[in-house]
Each structure stands twice: as structure tokens, then as C-alpha cells.
Amino acid sequence: MSTVISQAFFQHALLAGTFIALACGLVGYFLVLRAQIFTGDALSHVAFTGAMAALAGGYDLRLGLFAATIGVGLLIGGLGRRGRADDVVIGSVFAWILGLGAFFLTVYTTSRSGAQGGAGTSVLFGSIFGLHGNQITVAVAVAGAVCLIVLLIARPLLFATLDEAVAAARGVPVRVLGFMFLALVGACAGEATQAVGSLLLLGLLAAPAGAAIRLTDRPYRALALSAALAVAEMWGGLLLSAAAPKLPPSFAIMAVATAVYAATFLVRPARAAHPATA
């Protein structure tokens, strides 16, 4: 195990993973608090289609990831307020988007000679041990920027989340904040897809935040706890995967995150667990 830890690919994964987890923990807390988990789910499907479209078109995978997730994040923000796009419409659109992703996957694997057959799988389930060189730099830079922006707007965003009407009356730009937040979720989704994959992304956004909300009622403490838990779960997953090479890293990270979340149900019974909005 110590031989694995001393290797470059593991240290790269640890570095990028720490920042990705930090960003997911911070963004995920607001996502859970704003009850926008379905949006996160939708963006994870978009991430897959965006990445596959970029590959099929011969571009860098990350270009498609970020363009699609941030673009659709803003689009949802635009549709949502008018109250017309309900769950059923979002569900229908994203079911189709995923079908489109399957199409691009086939285009990519059949038309490009020398295309790796595992590209679709690595986008769906992540490949954190495969990161190298400038991928690390980009991952750290984007995640760092996401964290910084979240921290900068944390105070008004929290106000706008907990009591939208009062916040708007006090002059907080609720609508702009909502847009900014969805763009951040998009950036975070594009970012985390490289680590845990588009299908498992939702878990990294939801589990640490869900656990933090169960453990404390105070917003800032919960925000910090969510980020800390996400990083700890990332490290735990990577170490677990290093110790047992048969376990894929994304599975190990998700297993640790789920276990921590499940453990919070033992610490605090289900009934008294929701005064966090107070």
C-alpha cells in the first residue's frame, strides 16, 4: 500500500481530489439546502452528453463538459423562475439528453480510428487515477475559483436561500444570485465528473451536505463541516482504493461517503433532523 501512495498518479489524484471535494462540499451544501438535488441529477446527465459530444467532434473532453454543464445550469435558472418547467418537463428533457449522449458515444467509438473504447466508461464513472499534467492544474484552478466564489457570496446566498422574500425586500439580488449559483453548480459538475464520473457526481454533492445538515443546525458550521467531510471522504476513498486495488476509486469514494451519511442517522435519529432551515 505504501508503494502505491508514494507514486505520482496517487499524489496527483490526492491533490486534484482534495480541491474537487472542497468545491463539491461547499456547492453541495447550498444545493441540498435549496432542495435543487433534481437539478444536480439533471446536470450530471448533461455532463455525460457534453463530454461525449466534444469527443465525437474531436475537441477536448473538458471543453464539452464545462460548456454543457454551465450552459444548461444557466438555462435551468432562466426557465425555473417562470414556474413552467416542472419535474416532468425536466425529466423528459434529460431523458432525451441522455439518449443523445448514447448517440455521441457511438459516433465517437465507431467513427474515430484509435478512439479508446473506455472513454464512455471513464466519463460515466470517473478516472481520478488517470489525471496527469495540465489536467491537475486545470482541476485545481477551477475548483479553487469555485470555492472562492462560493465563499464570497455565501452570506447573501444563505439569506436568499433561507428566506427569499425577506432577502429580496432587503435589496439582495436574489435572481442574480440564483443564476450565479447554478453556474457554479455547473462548473462544479464539469469539474467533479473527471474524478467520480457523471453518474456518481450526485453522491459527492448530496452525501457530505446531507450529513453536515444532520449534524449541526448552524449554517456556517454546516457549510464548513460539509466541505471538511467531502475532503475526508475523498481521502478515505482514495486510501481504501490504494489498500484494495480491486475497488475502483470512484466506488471507494462513494462507499465512504455513503457510510458516513448512514452513520449520521445513528448519531441523530431521523425525526429531529430538520431544523436546519431555522
Binding site: D41, W96, G99, G120, T121, L204, G210, A273
Partner: protein
């Protein structure tokens, strides 16, 4: 003449559509796998459309999505352990339906936390599926068929299983249909009249799980949701009458499914893409149709006024 030869997916010479419709059909139907795919598509489309119609009515799309995700670890565990994938699909989907039913709480309180739980469970289920697949053999090709569907390998035995399960689901739904409709539209009044709302809800989730397991075998885990939600949403756009929209959603699902099969037979792209594409096109058309009708409805009195 019907042959039992299944061409390899990588076979470069895919059949060509010649516009001689009868000959084309005879050609297509000479392959047993195509005949089976059409039979399976019929069963799956009807069951999905009916169950999905109730799902959309009850606003349980998130639960439907979660159940469809549970199909993936079920199927991949079956592949890993070497038992029938049908068993894996049905076992996991029905078990997941029971878990969701047990987790449901009476009040609307705690929506944020409940969605966090659902999201975590979903991601963990997918992660488990990934683990089973990667334990089974390398990562190449394995998950794609389970996730996005593969209709080439449907056997006659599987069609029989599908038919039996589909018939049971539809029969149960026919028995509980009226009270379920009542309980879906107005749960409080229904409960007041002595309708067992909670029991019906649990029963419906189990039916949803069984229907998901069925459809997963055709469209793949990730696209089942499309076959359930899109035709029902389309039909409910077009008409408000329950019986008519139910019938319409069955017809739409069937059309999308069969058209998808024909397209996927002639093109190298995945079946799931065609099925979701056709269904979504109908959905968009239904929206446009409704907008046009509403616009015409608004204009009509104006014209009458100017004529008078």
C-alpha cells in the same frame, strides 16, 4: 424462414433500407432476434406507458428515476455472480421500491433532506453496479449494454418472462386502477372515504419497480425513465380526459419503441437514442400543438368581435 443467428454488433455490413417496404419487412422478420425485439418492445411499451401514466399523475418522477438506477447494480451483480440478468433486474427493482416506500414519510416536511437521501442512494447504487462490472472483467464494453440497452440478444424465453410479468402488472393495475386514480388526484378526500392510500402507494411503487425492471432489458437502465415519463407527459399535454390520455400514451410509447427498433436495425446507433429521440420529438410537437391551439383560442373571440 426464421433463423436464430444473431449478427455481431461490430458487423460492418448493416442492412440497407431499400424502400421496398414488404421485402424490407420480410427481410427484417427473418431474424428471430428482430421478431423477439418487436414482441418485447410491444410488451414493454404498453406496460411502461400505463405505469408511467400513473407515475406522472402522481408526480413520482424522481422515485421512478431512482428505481431505474437500481436496475443497474441488479443486472451487473447477476452478470458477476452468473445468474439470470432478469432475476437481477426484478430482484433489485422490487427491493428498491419497497425501500423507497418504507422511507416515505407522512408529511411534506424535510424535503431537502429526503432529496439528499435519494441522491446519495442513487449514486451509491450506480457505484455498486460499477464495482460489480469492474470485478467481472475489465472496463471495456461491459457497462454500455446494461446502461444504454441492447436488443440483439433477447431470447424467446425472456419474451415469455416479460409477457408474464407484464400481464401480472397490468392485471393488478386494472384491479386497483380506480381507487389509485382517486388516491392520486385527491389523497385526503380518498383517505377520508376509507381508501387505503398508503397501501395503494406502496403497491404502486412495487408495480413501478417491476415495470422498470422489464423496460431496462430493452432500453437499458439509464433510458427506461424516458419510456415511462415522455409518452405520459405528451399524452397529458394533449388531453385532460383520463381514459383517452392513457390510451394515447400507450400508442405513443408503442410507436416510439417500434420506430426506434426499425431505425436501430438500419443504423449503427444505439436503440435508446432512437427511442428517446422519437418520444421527445412527439413531446415537443405536443407542446407546439397546444401553444398553437391556445393562441388560436385567444384569437377567435377577437375575430368574432371585429366581425360583429
Amino acid at each position: 424462414m426464421i433463423t436464430d443467428v444473431v449478427p455481431l454488433a461490430s458487423d460492418a455490413t448493416s442492412p440497407v433500407f431499400s424502400w421496398k417496404l414488404l421485402a424490407d419487412f420480410q427481410d427484417m422478420w427473418s431474424y428471430l432476434y428482430m421478431v423477439n425485439a418487436f414482441r418485447a418492445g410491444l410488451i414493454v411499451a404498453v406496460v411502461c406507458a400505463v405505469v408511467g401514466w400513473f407515475m406522472v399523475l402522481r408526480r413520482q418522477t424522481f422515485a421512478g428515476h431512482t428505481l431505474s438506477v437500481a436496475a443497474f447494480p441488479g443486472a451487473s451483480l447477476a452478470v458477476l455472480a452468473g445468474f439470470s440478468t432478469s432475476l437481477g433486474y426484478f430482484g433489485f427493482c422490487v427491493a428498491a421500491a419497497l425501500v423507497i416506500a418504507a422511507m416515505q414519510r407522512e408529511g411534506r416536511d424535510g424535503g431537502a433532506e429526503e432529496s439528499a437521501v435519494t441522491g446519495t442512494v442513487q449514486a451509491f447504487a450506480l457505484a455498486c453496479g460499477y464495482l460489480f462490472i469492474s470485478l467481472y472483467k475489465g472496463l471495456l464494453e461491459g457497462p454500455t449494454a446494461l446502461l444504454f440497452g441492447d436488443f440483439l440478444g433477447i431470447t424467446t424465453g425472456q419474451v415469455v418472462t416479460l409477457a408474464v410479468v407484464g400481464a401480472v402488472v397490468l392485471a393488478v393495475l386494472a384491479v386497483i386502477g380506480r381507487p389509485l386514480l382517486f388516491a392520486s388526484v385527491d389523497p385526503e378526500v380518498a383517505a377520508g372515504r376509507g381508501v387505503p392510500v398508503r397501501l395503494l402507494g406502496t403497491l404502486f411503487l412495487v408495480l413501478l419497480g417491476a415495470a422498470t425492471a422489464e423496460a431496462s432489458q430493452i432500453t437499458g437502465t439509464l433510458l427506461v425513465f424516458a419510456l415511462m415519463v415522455i409518452p405520459a407527459a405528451t399524452a397529458q399535454q394533449l388531453t385532460a380526459r383520463p381514459g383517452l390520455s392513457l390510451l394515447l400514451s400507450v400508442l405513443l410509447a408503442l410507436a416510439a419503441c417500434w420506430a426506434g427498433l426499425i431505425a436501430a436495425y438500419y443504423q449503427p446507433y444505439p436503440l435508446g437514442f432512437f427511442v428517446t429521440g422519437f418520444a421527445f420529438a412527439a413531446f415537443v410537437l405536443a407542446h407546439l400543438f397546444r401553444f398553437a391551439r391556445e393562441a388560436a383560442g385567444r384569437r377567435a373571440p377577437l375575430q368574432m368581435g371585429s366581425a360583429a
